[in-house]
Point group: none
Chain length 214, copies 4
């Protein structure tokens, strides 16, 4: 997540100052929504946290909703990049486990993400849609490539789409159950990983070596 540096701002031109202010608001919103949820993220609270006047908010965002709807897609991209960087070249099944694990690593790195993600469906539906379109289309492509490599059981494209919903649902519900507590975001127990691994390696992927990248 981009972070407005609090370093002394000595010489910024107009454009930079403008962008910096917007980023301050954005970061403040991320922090507040992540910690207290969308419902508590009033413009007053966000601008106070950002250290700007309420009116300033509306120089940068059309309205409160517009900002809220930008939160998830932006952080979602960070997630995609993070997971991609953590995914190696082992077998397709193994890669899926790596992605799964990386997801839980990511939400510990960006603890705001979980709440921003989970509440988005109701409080930022446009952002939610955008994010899920991003994620699920990319995910389907991954599965299609695995299928082309002979690494999956027999699934049609439409079935893959449904499977992706299941896999995303798994992450969502498991993170809710095992990562999320009053204290903050914690790692999931190993048995969560192994359970997922057993389900998808036998259920989704072929267990031969055919899917392994050379």
């Amino acid at each position: 997540m981009t972070q407005a540096t609090s370093a002394k701002v000595t010489k910024l031109n107009r454009v930079e100052r403008n962008a910096w202010t917007k980023q301050k608001i954005f970061d403040a919103a991320t922090k507040i929504v992540g910690k207290y949820g969308y419902a508590e993220a009033s413009v007053a609270r966000i601008t106070e946290a950002a250290g700007v006047a309420q009116g300033t908010f509306y120089n940068h965002f059309e309205n409160r909703q517009e900002l809220l709807d930008q939160l998830l897609p932006k952080i979602g991209l960070d997630m995609v990049r993070f997971i991609h960087a953590r995914t190696g070249t082992a077998s397709e099944a193994r890669q899926e486990i790596e992605r799964f694990s990386a997801f839980f690593d990511f939400i510990r790195e960006v603890p705001e993400f979980l709440r921003i993600l989970n509440e988005a469906e109701f409080f930022a539906p446009i952002g939610y849609q955008k994010h899920f379109d991003n994620i699920s289309s990319a995910y389907v492509r991954i599965l299609q490539r695995a299928r082309a490599a002979g690494a999956t059981n027999t699934f049609s494209d439409e079935e893959f789409e449904a499977i992706v919903q299941v896999l995303m649902g798994a992450r969502g519900y498991l993170s809710r159950r095992y990562s999320y507590s009053e204290q903050g975001v914690t790692a999931v127990p190993d048995y969560v990983i192994t359970a997922y691994q057993k389900l998808v390696t036998r259920g989704l992927f072929t267990t031969s070596d055919k899917g392994r990248k050379s």
Copy 2:
């Protein structure tokens, strides 16, 4: 779903009248939350739909939140009964598919359920917790019995817990994606069922006949 009959209530004693009023409020809340969501379910709106005064609300519920938190657990029990009634004595794997299908049948029978369920996490967290504890413990027991019958792959109790989260996540995300539209609640396409079936029969259950009830 229990339904306050609108038939003329001529002879009710004090206790019955009391319960009836409470039920009217409850039913009104179910309808409104189901249709418009928790956020739109103001006390004013609920009491108006119930045909009672706003003040009456507080004779039956401590506050608005208390009512909201009762919605999901109550309707959740209806769901459990519904699904149980639809589950036969075929193989364990087959039974899971029946439960899965029955879930989607239920949400068409009780279209309020989906919204009450999906939004509960944020608007009725206590009710959400109660519901999920109900469901997941029951679900784990089902899986344990299947395991005892030799019908599942090797999973520990803890892994079953995680699996249950995945299966519930699957229902949640799939219903969101495939059942929910502006028009109302519709049936899911067949390929959703088959995708789920492929994933869990190979991933979760053994494919032999060992798990079949005698």
Copy 3:
């Protein structure tokens, strides 16, 4: 104008208390709009003057505009009654002068009226429309009766409608010019009355050719 009496309110039932509160708000609005104009009549200001909470306002009026739009028609009726009571049985021409004079008497009795009337077109257009429909249709009927009695020059119904606009315009502009000052509302000079009298009884110009430029 109805006036919420400030006498001690010892025993009022619910309905009466309700009506009394609404009347308090109404009276406060009348006073404020009359003194400072619609633009300054914020809900905060009105409710403060009425001695009720802001929220109370919305128990009695849908929104701010609804109240504003009720102001003029209500006082307008008071005006009609007032003028009617002051109109005798002299000649039609004389009666018109009486009505004209009575108008200026009325605005001194209800000094709020002038501002409520004049600004209504822009700040309370619905109320303005209602008021003017009331007034002009009644006025046209008066003229038609006078015509039937042979007391007017030759005018068609449509021309009467236009004439009514002129007569109302006369009252509006003259009151603005001669009655309205920082100090409050004062009587119009006699020559305003006589000028109006001459115009409506004899017209402005002689009909001979004397005024033609050579």
Copy 4:
């Protein structure tokens, strides 16, 4: 109405550029107030329409109100010139009808005028005052000359002042009623002209006793 030409302005000195910017703002304000009214004429909207920055506004006008108060007097002069050009050398009575008709022609030529005029009383009171002083003093002089020519009935100077208010009120109310619609500004029906003509040449009531109630 003066109009800032949009032709490319290549060679302007400092003073000319300055005047040109001010004119752009002025024209934009005229257009916006004419179309949407003073209340909607925010500085942001005006400057955007003028194609200058908001801050620029305050280099040319002390504040928003100052500009608004200049609108009507300026355009009012255009009206005076327009009407004067349309007035011939027929009888005084005839000339008044010509002026009256010319007024309605003018508001069709400059459709912004009506709104700028009508709302000015409340949104630009200083400009309103200035305009009406302009108009009414000129109008009184016209009537005085007609009187000197023996073309009017007997009116004192003060009565003429009042008469002028009536005549201006007639224009104001009639234009509001007959020229102004959602579509724009339209011509008034003929009977409006004839009604006015009859009123000012012959008066409204017969002076015989026929109308007296028995």
